[in-house]
Each structure stands twice: as C-alpha cells, then as structure tokens.
Homo-oligomer: 457 residues x 2
C-alpha cells in the first residue's frame, strides 16, 4: 500500500493544476461586483472536499457569502480535528504594481504569484490535498475530520461566527487546524501561538452641506479632509504610541518564558528592515522589541482616506465629506467593544470645529493565545520537525484570524496555527505569492500531523 | 436703428439655446478622457466669436488645450479692451450629489443647473453676446475689442501665460475685462478689486517599498497615509492659523479705506453661515472678519489624500505610498515661489520617521489688486449702476484668476473684474448653477460698459 506522501508525490502535477484553477477565480469578498466569483470559488472548494473523500459535503447559504462544509467521522475512538480556511481574497489595488495578472497564477523562481496564493487558497488547499493523499493511500483518514471553509474572512463577515455559535455539536472537535499564517523564515517549521485581535472602523466626517470652492470660502469653511487629519494626528504620537486614553489599560506584557523563547531565535533586525519591511527605518513604540511590537503590542493604523479630490491634477475644493479607514490591532485581554467605545469617546471629545465625525464599526475580533504545552500543539510540533528536519519555533503573529476566537469561545477548543506561508508572501499587497515547495511540504506536514494525531499513544 | 439692448432682447431665446449648447459639452480640462470635448468646446467658442462679429478668429494650438482668439480693431482713437474667459470646467465628482445631469442644462426656479454654468461658460458667453448685440445694433463695436478664451483655467495650465508673455503687441489694450467672479448678493452690482493667488501642490509620501499587511507589520512599518496625516496636521493649528514658519511674513493688512468700505456692506454673518456656507460654524483665524478671512488672508487647505485603501469595506493594509493635494491661497505681496520654498523646507524638516515626502508643484498664481479709482473701474461702476439701478459695491474675492496677474505683468494693464455669478452658484461643487436673469443682465451690463468706454469724454 502506498504511503500518503507517495500518493501526494504521484499527484504533484494535478495538485498544482487544481491550485492554479482555484487561484484563477477572482473571489474578492469586499467588492460586490465579484459575487459570481465568490459563488464559483465556493463551488470549487466544495468539489475539492468531495474529491478528497469528505462526506456530507455542502454549501451552507445564509446571510453573506456561502460556507463550505464536509466531514468524515469514520474513525470512532480517534480524535476529531476541525480544519478551517477561507476561499475569499483581498482586492488587488494598486493593480499597476502587479508584475503579472493577479488572477493568472505565474511561477517565477519556484513561487506562484497570484492574489490569494498564500492567503489562503494555497494553504487551505494544501490541507485538503493532505486529506486526499491520506484517503488515496489507505481509503480512510487517521482521525475524524470536519472541514469548514468561509468566504468572508477578508471582510470580517459574521456568517462563520454565527454558524460556529449555533452548531457546537455538529462542529464538536478536539482541536482546530488553521493554515493561514507564515513560517518564521524559509525551511523553519513554525507554530503560531498568539494572534492579535482587531477593531476595524470607518470614521465619517461631515463639514459644510456641500463641497465649496477653496478660493471663495477658504478661511471660513470647515474642511472634512483636514478635520480628519487633525483628529487622526491626535490619536498617535510621532513615536507610534497611541494617545487614546485607556487604550493600553488591559495590555499585558508577554510572559518571561515567551520572551526567553524569542531570545533564542536568531533574528537579524537589520536584514528584516532591509529585505522584508523594505523601509528606511523600522517604526513603532520605543522600548519594545520587534517581536513585541508586531505580536504583543496593539496598533492604530489609518488605511486610507476616501473623499475629497483624489483624481489627477488640481481641483480647488473644500471637501464637505470624507472618511477614514481606521483599525486597531489588539492583544489578549483587550476587549474590542471597549476599544471601540474608547475611540468613540475620543472622537466625540476631539472633533475639530465645524466637523461632525461618526465612527462606524466594520468588524471586530478578539486576540487569542494557545499554550505551547497543549497536546495538539506538541503533536503538531513533532510532525513539523519530522517533515522539515528542523526544530519547530513558536511565535506570535500580529495578524488576526477572527474564527480562532470563535472556536475557543463557542467550541471550547484550541487552534493549531500551522502555517506554510513565508514572511515575504506580500499578503494584501501587490505580487502576493506562495512557495510551491511550501505547498507540497505543507501537504506532507498536514498529512503527518493527522497521522500522528491518529496514532496509538 | 435698434439699440444693443433691443437686439439682445430680440435674441433672448437663441442666446439661451446657444448657452445650453455650450454647457452640453463636458469640457473637463483635468481629465485626459475629455480631450475631444475640450476640442469641441474650443471650436464652439471660436464659432461664437465669429457669430458676434469678431475678425481674425482662430484656434491657437500649442502645448496643452487650444486658445481661442478674435479681435476687431475698427475704432481707431477709441480704447481697446481685452476680454478674457475660459471654456474649460471642473470635474463633476461627487457625481451622486447632482440633482440633474451636470452636462444637460436644466432650469429650475430661473437658474440653469450645469457644470460650468457660472464658471465660466455663462459669464464669458454673456460678454460675447454683448458684443453680438452691439454689432447687430450698429454694425460695429464702440471700442476696439480683443477676446482671448483659454481651456486650462481649472488646471492652471501654462498655455495662456506663455501666449500673453510672448504677444504683448498683439494683445496690447487699455484694460482687460474678466467676468468670472460673483456679485456680492443678488441684484447688487459688484466689482472685484482683489484676487488671491495660489500655490497648488501634491505631496507624495513613500514609506516601505510595498504595501504591507497591517497585522503582520503593524508596529514596525511606516505608514505613508499616516505619515501625511502627521505632517499635514502640523501645518495648521486647530484655529486655522498656518504654522509653516514665514508663511505670513509678507501679508499686509487691508487698507483702512478698504476696511471702511467693507463696513458699509450690510453683512448678515449668521445668514451667510447658515444659507451659503451651510456649516454648523464658520472656521478660520480668530481676530479677523469674514471679509478679511476670505479675501485678505492666506489659507492652507488639503483637498484630498489619494492612496491607501479607499474602496468599500475593509482592507488591512499599511500603505507604502500616498499623496495629498495641498494648496495655499495667497494675498498681495506673498510670493508664490517663496511660499512653495517654505512648504518644502517645512516638509524636509518635519517628515515623519520612515517616510520620504516630495512636494511637487502643480501650479501657482500671484494675488492681484486693482485700485478703485482707475478710470476703467470707474466706467464699469457707472455702467453697472445704470443697468442694475443700484450702487456698485467693491469687494475682494478669495478666488484666483491667474491670468489677471499675467495681464498686469506682461501687458501692464488692469483688469475689470465684473462678474455676474452669485455666491451660491456652487462653483467646483455639485449642482453648479447660473441665474438666467444674470445671464441677460450680464449681456446688458457688458454692452453698456463698452458703450460708455467708447463714448466721447
């Protein structure tokens, strides 16, 4: 009987073909024009689950984009693992900066360039293909498996949270597996033990009732764009410290153990600045290390300022309305609702003269932590070490995967964050890519993790 | 022989038809897609000059959009007047806020709604139609006339400046007439005696080499949007005072005479706030009156911040690049080049950590003043009083008409700023309009001005 890894090796080329088919579907969840692409991506994911041998495979329609679900419960007495991923992707702007079409996967130097390659199509597909290889090898999986794939991860949709909350029995499992994070560096197996949470808002400013001519009214008319600038500049100092009162109240310092583990990582800060962040300097709060600033400290970012005149050339307008996309990344113990409330109080208190500002919530997610001594994490760590031949490192990620908090809260299970991305995958940016080597090593890693999970003690 | 006003009355309906035809041409000068509309508008203006009886009518092609020129020099010994206007218009965004199509003129309550109705198609056409009526009445004009119409006023194009500079003999005149300003209030004949100047710039910010994920890099990566916010907020305090060192150095207070004349105007500040600016409060520098703030004080405005994520919903990106449209309105004695230099020095000194900011000039214009005792202004004042039956008021406009500075500098002539717009015409904003009554009264006013100019002393 062939092993799962032999089956995976045999299917290498068809697995890549299917990966590329998945990438060709422009399933951008935030843009209403792409609704039919979202539907196609959901159907594609459903068909992949069926092909991998899952049963009761279905699309679950409700508010928002459909969920994809399948399960196989043929291993009584063995653990049950809940695998999660998402089939939706980020928008592609700025489109000019893409070297190749974001929805025509192109391989350069062993990397597949396409929107969603790493986040998360390549990673969820690696897990599905691990299941397919296991099934092909032995006609079964070593553990009970449930797979849940959503289409609103990039927009903070509520569909998956509502589903998890209302289906605790159907989704019952011993642990969840999510591959939607990155390895610390190439060929360094990595488990992520903490994720930041998120409050994503849009601040709507209104000044005069209509746009005004900046010559005729400059000197008396409130400017909605400048009002936002004034207010936003008060939210964070030039050193990167958030100035909203109470913002840091619930932030806990990382444990001494955790700090010690980071110290064992051979981190080249100058190389990181130059080759990964690609900036003239690293910014952020003084007195905190890079690992703390990106994993264990909250942030406040402005992503864009829609409104006013943004076309080419000159328009001499005093904008009546504008908005700002504003988010905060949160760390464990910070409560998203409280942070939103603090933002709103700050805005109410500091709105500039003549400008009304309304903070509307887009979505929230709490931060999450997984202890490194949990059995599922220990098994994952061992599987990774076997496949990659190197010691597994534990890091926190600065990103947010909201469903991990839902699994903790509503199912009472921890999540193994076993990601196969790389730090330079350019998530959410032009020229996103995923390493083809990591795609195949990911299949092998997940298969091995499930084998070890199902092995007799 | 009929009088010019009888001829104008007779042609009332055809003059309106031609005005509407002019408005239907979407001659937006800043948008490259509208190049063919610009060409059509130039041809339309040229044909109107011919119809009005001007001679040597031509399109003058060069860099940028064509100039339209015509002249009639059949009144030797009489003064020569140079009439200027522009056939280009502002963009229409935000398009959603227009009640009717910006390029399908629609009359509501005696107002013609369309982009360019007041700025400047209705006003330049009123002057052309005055010439047509004069010619029709007597077969000649009472003075020598030169007409110059440009297509880049809204984008600060250099074509007209270059043409004026290199054709001082061809354009030689005793005074210029420009109808591109507003009356102080309905039925109040108004001459504008001062215009603010302008420095319009775009500030380009660059942080990291590419957009970064705000989860993975939030805490270490410079954010180009926030960098601009930080810097721009330092440029002006919350009271509206510009903080760029040296900005006010050359600003002169208005003369006591000028202040006294403003005091004679019955100004309802609360009504102006409520009905014209339509804002919850008037803003601007404390200690200065509204007339001073909009006419005699310089300003600093941000018109928009292109870059980052501005689509619907959420995108968690740290923008690598962004820019800000920034302009300052200048008053007499402030030098545009010096102000640009002060901006650049300020930016160089205060650029936030990790952000490179480059200030690029889009265009400049010096402020201009015309003395109220100039003979052409006195004649204009008398003509307006005859036609409107009320005393002419003298105000400064906060707007900028760069060519007025060119006429002063290169031709050595003052400009009569005899505008027929109204303060609520919504220039540069949705639902721009022009009063049909003012269109016809404007024709009569210009005709009477030229008659008086040509009358024996």
């Amino acid at each position: 009987m062939p092993s799962a890894s032999e089956c995976a090796a045999h299917n290498r080329s068809s697995f890549e073909d299917e990966f590329f088919q998945f990438l060709r579907i422009p399933s951008i969840s935030t843009l209403p024009d792409h609704a039919s692409d979202i539907a196609r991506a959901a159907e594609f994911a459903r068909d992949q689950l069926a092909l991998a041998g899952l049963e009761s495979v279905e699309l679950i329609e409700g508010d928002g984009h459909p969920l994809v679900y399948g399960e196989w419960l043929g291993a009584p007495g063995k653990p049950t693992i809940l695998i999660y991923g998402h089939y939706d992707v980020q928008p592609t702007d700025p489109i000019d900066e893409w070297i190749s079409d974001p929805f025509e996967p192109t391989v350069r130097n062993g990397q597949v360039y396409a929107r969603g390659a790493s986040d998360d199509k390549g990673q969820i597909l690696a897990n599905i293909k691990a299941l397919q290889a296991l099934r092909q090898a032995s006609g079964r999986y070593p553990v009970n498996v449930k797979v849940l794939i959503e289409g609103e991860e990039e927009v903070g949709g509520e569909a998956v949270t509502a589903f998890v909350k209302s289906n605790p029995t159907r989704l019952a499992a011993d642990a969840a597996l999510v591959s939607d994070t990155a390895m610390y560096m190439p060929d360094t197996p990595t488990l992520c033990t903490g994720l930041r949470g998120m409050v994503y808002t849009e601040w709507f400013a209104r000044g005069a009732a209509r746009d005004l001519h900046s010559g005729l009214y400059g000197g008396v008319a409130p400017n909605a764009v400048f009002g936002l600038i004034e207010l936003l500049a008060r939210c964070k100092d030039s050193g990167g410290r958030v100035l909203i009162p109470g913002f840091y109240d619930d932030v806990e310092a990382p444990s001494e153990d955790e700090k010690a583990s980071w110290d064992t990582i051979d981190f080249d800060e100058e190389g990181y600045r130059r080759n990964e962040v690609c900036a003239s300097t690293l910014t952020g709060e003084p007195g905190f290390s890079v690992f703390e600033r990106i994993g264990a400290r909250p942030t406040f970012e402005v992503h864009g300022l829609p409104g006013g005149f943004t076309g080419p050339g000159a328009k001499t307008v005093i904008p009546a309305a504008a908005s700002a996309k504003v988010s905060a990344r949160l760390v464990p113990r910070q409560n998203p609702a409280s942070i939103l409330q603090l933002m709103r109080e700050f805005v109410a208190e500091h709105s500039p003269q003549g400008i009304e500002i309304d903070v509307r919530l887009i979505h929230t997610a709490p931060a999450t932590m997984v202890a490194t001594d949990h059995p599922a994490i220990r098994t994952a760590s061992r599987a990774l070490e076997e496949v990659w031949g190197r010691k597994t490192v534990f890091i926190r990620s600065g990103g947010s995967i909201p469903v991990v908090g839902d699994f903790q809260e509503h199912l009472g299970i921890p999540t193994v964050l076993m990601g196969y991305g790389l730090p330079d995958d350019a998530l959410h940016a032009p020229n996103e890519k995923f390493s083809l080597r990591n795609f195949h090593m990911g299949i092998a890693s997940t298969a091995r993790f499930l084998e070890l999970l199902g092995a007799p003690e």
